[in-house]
Amino acid sequence: MLVKQLSVFMENKPGRLFKLTDTLGKAGIDFVTLSIADTKEYGIVRFIARDNAKAYDVLKKAGFAVEQTLLLGVEVPDRPNALAEVIELLEKEGINIDYLYSFALFKADSAKILLKVSDTDKAVSLFAEKGIKMLNEKIL
């Protein structure tokens, strides 16, 4: 029901993102998603790899501080207001969204949204109840 995301702390300076992507690329690991949250001095690179377990090991060995987080993934139709409807459900239940990012696959009629929320369990049962299609790692 949940999607595993890896995150890496990184100083905000040239060459850092290259080192990460290069390390994974050389190990033959593909990104499925990639997003960066940043401040002036540092950022957190969040991503899902095709093979998360392998990516985790490779990065650890290369000396990165890697963190694993479980995200909630939902699929919403590619039409106006679709995302707002999902967010509204969470809001009504008082569930806060820490962050989210979306990605749309080429030639698809839906968009995939990944969310980190304040109460994951509650959000999962809420979505199940309301018939919102949730993603698991395989669907990605």
């Binding site: 890496v8 540092y42 950022g43 957190i44 501080a65 820490d98």
Partner: protein
């Protein structure tokens, strides 16, 4: 620079011949050794351990036979184990911070306070200060010796004392203007800060009557002195002291500003090699050591200050014959003095641990930017506090800053860096990179 006519407060002591001074020191030292042997267990044990009897000390020539005292001794005997006088005869307690958070305590008898006041009066006279002056004291009042030390001495001198203490810069500036203080006493970095804040607060140099500054409690360079003198249109003097010995006034610059005159009839200075602990001759650089020969409350024998400097016994152009100590060029322990506050890296580590549970690798960078000390702590982000959330990382970062502020009373900036990126040396971890220059 404004013209200063200094005068000698106690010429009978400050202008003694070397042989008269040595005779006086010898007489006081012999008495002191007997007293501490009889009254302070620590000293009795130290002397017994090397089979030294009080009667073996006949003059200052025997000084180097005596055992050293360290900050650790004071800590081990916290709070009153080093007192020599009866506890009922102690009238004041001061303290400064130590490495483990345990304070270094100093007890003063009335006589000790009298000696301290005398030393401050001599120091003020060196800077041409008299009872006609209004002295604004912006050293912290409290356990720190800066505020109350200057306060008592200046009061004895007959100056009008403004006990402003530290903080509230806006009010400090209005007081300086409204009361027309002629003397400012504070840390040199605070003097710089006051100068930079003047414009913001609508105060011009013409509004002030300041002519002299008495600055100490932290090392400062000659270029910083020139800047303060220019910005505040004063002549700035360096005052040296440490609470263990008495506080400010242990030594002070005269108008010639060529080293600070040590009040040798009360505090015998020595320079030792910090490694071999052997005494070094005048002129050679080493660790400064003091023996407090006239104190009674908590006298110390050969106290290792950890300050690195040299001594100069040549007669000064001002007429004083007392030995001068040159500017302190560094320390031989890891203590940092940041904006006048003693900071040990272990305290920073404790603050990080209090927030995070464990302390990852960190380095303290200290610099002086625009004459103000700044401390930046780089902390490596390891698994113990990596997060997927920027908000959580920022909370953690600020918590460390707040912890340091409340633990040490000084602000700092915490910067998060990637793990394994901070320099590591063979064996001992590099904890401090001090980029300040005190010697130019």
């Amino acid at each position: 620079m404004k013209n200063i006519n200094d005068y000698i407060y106690s010429p009978q002591y400050e202008c003694m011949t070397r042989s008269e001074m040595e005779a006086l020191q010898s007489e006081r030292l012999v008495k002191l050794v007997k007293r501490v042997y009889d009254n302070v267990k620590v000293y009795r044990e130290k002397m017994d351990a090397i089979k030294l009897k009080p009667e073996d000390i006949k003059s200052v020539a025997d000084l180097s036979k005596l055992p050293f005292t360290t900050k650790q001794d004071l800590r081990n005997n916290y709070p009153f184990g080093m007192l020599c006088d009866d506890k009922d005869d102690i009238v004041r307690l001061h303290a400064s911070s130590g490495t483990t958070g345990k304070l270094t305590v100093v007890g003063y008898s009335q006589r000790d306070l009298d000696v301290w006041q005398e030393c401050i009066c001599r120091a003020l006279a060196m800077a041409g200060i008299s009872k006609k002056d209004i002295i604004h004291i912006a050293y912290g009042y409290g356990l720190f010796t800066g505020g109350l030390g200057l306060h008592d001495g200046a009061t004895k001198m007959g100056c009008a004392v403004v006990p402003a203490s530290s903080g509230n810069t806006k009010r400090q500036l209005s007081l300086l203007k409204d009361f027309g203080a002629t003397v400012l006493a504070c840390t040199p970095s605070y003097a710089v800060y006051l100068a930079t804040e003047m414009e913001k607060n609508g105060i011009n140099l013409a509004d002030l009557k300041l002519r002299v500054g008495i600055f100490g409690a932290e090392p400062w360079s000659d270029s910083m002195r020139r800047e303060i003198e220019k910005e505040l249109n004063i002549t700035a003097f360096d005052i040296y002291g440490l609470s263990e010995i008495t506080g400010p006034g242990v030594a002070m610059e005269c108008v010639y500003k060529n080293g600070s005159h040590v009040q040798e009839d009360h505090f015998i200075p020595e320079i030792i090699d910090p490694v071999t602990l052997e005494p070094l001759p005048y002129g050679e650089e080493g660790e400064l050591v003091f023996t407090t020969i006239s104190k009674t409350g908590q006298p110390l024998i050969r106290y290792r200050t950890r300050d690195i400097t040299s001594l100069n016994a040549e007669k000064c152009a001002c007429g004083r014959t007392t030995v001068r100590m040159n500017k302190v060029v560094g320390r031989d322990d890891d203590m940092l003095i940041i904006r006048g506050v003693n900071v040990f890296p272990s305290q920073i580590e404790a603050a990080i641990m209090n927030v995070n549970g464990i302390a990852p690798h960190y380095i303290i960078y200290v610099d002086r930017i625009g004459n103000l000390d700044v401390m930046e702590i780089h902390v490596e982000v390891n698994e113990s506090f990596a997060s997927d959330n920027i908000g959580d990382m920022e909370i953690l970062r600020r918590k460390i800053e707040n912890e340091i502020q409340s633990y040490l009373g000084i602000s700092s900036k915490v910067k998060l860096v990637e793990q394994n990126t901070l320099p590591r040396s063979e064996g001992k971890a590099v904890r401090v990179v001090d980029k300040r220059k005190f010697t130019e």
